[in-house]
Symmetry: C2
DNA sequence: TGTTAGCACTCGCCGGCAAGGAGTGCTAAT
DNA sequence: ATTAGCACTCCTTGCCGGCGAGTGCTAACA
């Protein structure tokens, strides 16, 4: 796979990719010699282009059109040719300032991150909130609703509030609930949901809890409250930015993109992959098996709170994205969000 | 405005509207005599159509195309010609069953309503949750976060959970907080946020509270927690259904629709109007000043919880909507949701 | 007087065709 | 190894003419 290209081929490939990113149209040999002051004639460029096509970096939509980078071409460009400059302190500051996080809940933070990400990159913003299981317990509260139903409010270390209604077979008295609440709020803080679940499972098995009334009831309730998985929340902002891209200008393409963005399953799968890795990851459309995002690229980065609570944020757009612009933005935003989540957690 | 049409004209207008709803294409005189077994010749129909056009019920896109109903035409159709049949008990039951509300939060209920509404009508579903100010207090809870910040969790009568972080200048002790919480949870339940705000304002003015330490602190906190307005939440489902409609098949139209649906302000304004009225309301595109939803119709109905907490739900689609199908669905769904919210509230 | 048949006319739609242009690949000259 | 030149390909654009759906008008009819 690691083909070697001489300097000139690299230059030309880079020029083609950049022109294509700028114009979204096949680029011809002539255009290259003009726009990038190269000391070469169009004919020479053509020869090189033919080679690059042979090697799979380029392809031509039809005989007499210019060349378009293949996803392999984009890969090579990103891995080898692209120089990602860091944001200047000024830009960083400006970016940091465009977020207004005060007094916001986790959910709002995620929403806001997506909004800003989309606004600044002018592509579509994607944020996957940290998984419930990986969040750290801070506080639990039970509120009695009608008909013996109980509202459980769970607050994580990061200020994330989850709530859920459980149908209780037993009618709980206020005192009981208060004692249970106190008990849980004294024993559980600092543990992640995952750990709590594990402990619950253990203790239920050992049956040792049976001797202690309070503890048993507490376990029963917390099991009902915390046991089942909450589906991933994905926040999408600036969907309509997708429509601005010339590659999705036909009605059919638009529909396809929208269906993809509407069903979050694909996105979750994709973002999950990105989460495993460290730092900025780039997925290029056709390379991922899901042809659902054919023609799209995803630039994403995980962010983390305390105790390994991990989410992913990123930007999705056409393969022909302005990588050099977006990559540092995604990178820095992930750092920013991590920092904020950790600060909240102290 | 209330023009009179003789029976034949009415029949023909109805036939045209219905054919147009079914086909999305201009309908000609010939088509009408064929599809709707009328004892008239196309020529006669043409004469009538010319009259209807004169009166503004119809228009023709160009000389040699069929006729298309104007929004005035649609209005007349909806007000006079359309017979909205009620749903059969079977249909009602089936519709009620497609909702799965157990153990869901207000927010999830709204989401679910939108989802089902969109699924059944095959248009785009719209739900505006009841305003925060009109919700009824049930329970409040304070959780200490880091740096003296306080997480306020507020539970409404309907099980709606709101939360908010407030920056406290003072460091509150756990005991203080507990006492305040107890105090508030004893005095406030049953009142709407609006009422609480009014009372707060009154008492703060009278300064009488100053004598009671606890009460003063409680008032300070509850003011911070409940005073500012929370923006309306609008839930949209099935946006991509819009794209299926032939009238929005061009890229430009698609973009326009999407921008409209993405910026919720217009929708809030529109739904607010619908909320004021009782029962099912229909807004037809060009008639409303907002040309943002040009070419669209909104069928909506308010629903209500206890104590006048009111929201709006509806379906948005092309003007050429299947009104006879959607109206009873929207109507019944609003009743259903009202019933559920009231049941929760008992 | 209301209804109908007949007919000329209008337009949008579609397929074919030719001109124009961008870009390639090959070859021969430098 | 590079480049100029040239024939060739194939997309795009604009134009033309035929087709068909539908209209409006007029004259005949009950």
């Amino acid at each position: 796979m690691a083909e070697e290209l001489n300097q000139r081929s690299q230059d030309i490939l880079e020029a083609i990719v950049e022109d294509y990113i700028a114009s979204a149209e096949p680029v011809g040999s002539r255009a290259i010699t003009r726009r990038h002051a190269m000391d070469l004639s169009p004919a020479t460029v053509r020869n090189v282009m033919a080679d690059l096509e042979e090697m799979g970096f380029l392809c031509s939509p039809h005989t007499s059109a210019g060349r378009v980078p293949t996803s392999k071409g984009f890969h090579y460009y990103i891995d080898t040719l692209l120089e990602v400059r860091d944001l200047s302190p000024l830009e960083k500051e400006r970016l940091a300032k465009s977020y207004q996080f005060q007094g916001l809940q986790m959910e709002d933070v995620m929403q806001e991150v997506g909004r800003v990400l989309s606004g600044i990159s002018s592509y579509t913003g994607l944020v996957m909130a940290p998984k419930f299981a990986s969040t750290v317990f801070r506080h639990i509260e039970f509120v009695k609703l009608s008909h013996g139903r109980l509202l459980v409010i769970f607050v994580s270390e990061t200020g994330l509030v989850q709530n859920k209604v459980i149908e209780a077979e037993v009618e709980w008295s206020a005192q009981e609930l208060e004692r249970i609440t106190n008990y849980l709020n004294h024993t559980l803080p600092g543990m992640s949901i995952q750990e709590i679940r594990r402990r619950l499972a253990d203790e239920l098995q050992r049956e040792k809890a049976r001797f202690d009334q309070l503890q048993e009831k507490a376990m029963y309730l917390s099991k009902a409250a915390l046991m089942d998985e909450i589906e991933e929340k994905v926040f999408i902002s600036g969907t309509s930015r997708m429509l601005e891209q010339p590659e999705f200008s036909t009605p059919e393409k638009m529909k396809k993109i929208f269906h993809t963005l509407e069903s979050k399953e694909h996105l979750v799968k994709l973002l999950d992959q990105a989460q495993a890795a460290e730092g900025v990851q780039i997925f290029i459309g056709s390379q991922t098996e899901h042809d659902a995002i054919e023609g799209c690229s995803l630039i994403s980065s995980p962010f983390s709170g305390k105790k390994g609570a991990v989410g992913t944020l990123g930007v999705i757009g056409p393969v022909r994205m302005d990588y050099s612009h977006v990559i540092p933005i995604v990178d820095f935003t992930a750092q920013l969000v991590s920092r904020i989540l950790k600060r909240e957690a102290e």
